[in-house]
Amino acid sequence: GAGVSQSPRYKVAKRGQDVALRCDPISGHVSLFWYQQALGQGPEFLTYFQNEAQLDKSGLPSDRFFAERPEGSVSTLKIQRTQQEDSAVYLCASSLDSNYGYTFGSGTRLTVV
């Protein structure tokens, strides 16, 4: 596609519910990143994929967070047993190469109630 597509745009989850956030990167982009942006803050790194390989997951806040990119294209960020502190905008970005600038999607705003 022309840009990075994320779905859903908005998600309201009850505390304890599992959620799955989808990212469809620009075709041919090798690098894919997930970031978390809390209200009034800059994006914080969560995880990095090069093709299907997850090379860095050091930013994932806990073992409730899991990301995958099985065929080196679409990626899914899963959050199990959501908690209120998980409320944030989750941004996906892709890049031709890890040294290039990122193209971000519009994000998924997750609200845990």
Binding site: G42, P43, E44, F45, Q50, L91, F104
Partner: protein, 115 residues
């Protein structure tokens, strides 16, 4: 401690005024990028600077990378309401131990340009 400190945090000005926002760190960066983010959207890349002392211009926007590659500034001339948004700087650490793919973001400067 924030790796990249941006100032000011908020800025509200009138159309036609000039402004400068700053991005500072005690760490050295191999490259630094500026993004603009509008409400409900993801950040959009404006510029990448890689050489100490480098100056890049994008219409009314002027970006400068510090000589020591630890800081950067963004100057906007004759601001317009369309410039309103969150301006984020983001950098790749020069000595990142192999994780030079990772962009570290500042908290941003929220700019409002009033007509």
């Amino acid at each position: 401690t924030q790796l990249l400190e941006q100032s000011p945090q908020f800025l509200s000005i009138q159309e036609g005024e000039n402004l400068t926002v700053y991005c500072n760190s005690s760490s050295v960066f191999s490259s630094l990028q500026w993004y603009r983010q509008e409400p409900g959207e993801g950040p959009v890349l404006l510029v990448t600077v890689v050489t100490g002392g480098e100056v890049k211009k994008l219409k009314r926007l002027t970006f400068q990378f510090g000589d020591a590659r630890k800081d950067s500034s963004l100057h906007i001339t004759a601001a317009q309401p369309g410039d309103t948004g969150l301006y984020l700087c983001a950098g790749r650490l020069a000595y990142s131990g192999g994780s030079n793919y990772k962009l570290t973001f500042g908290k941003g400067t929220l700019l409002t340009v009033n007509p």
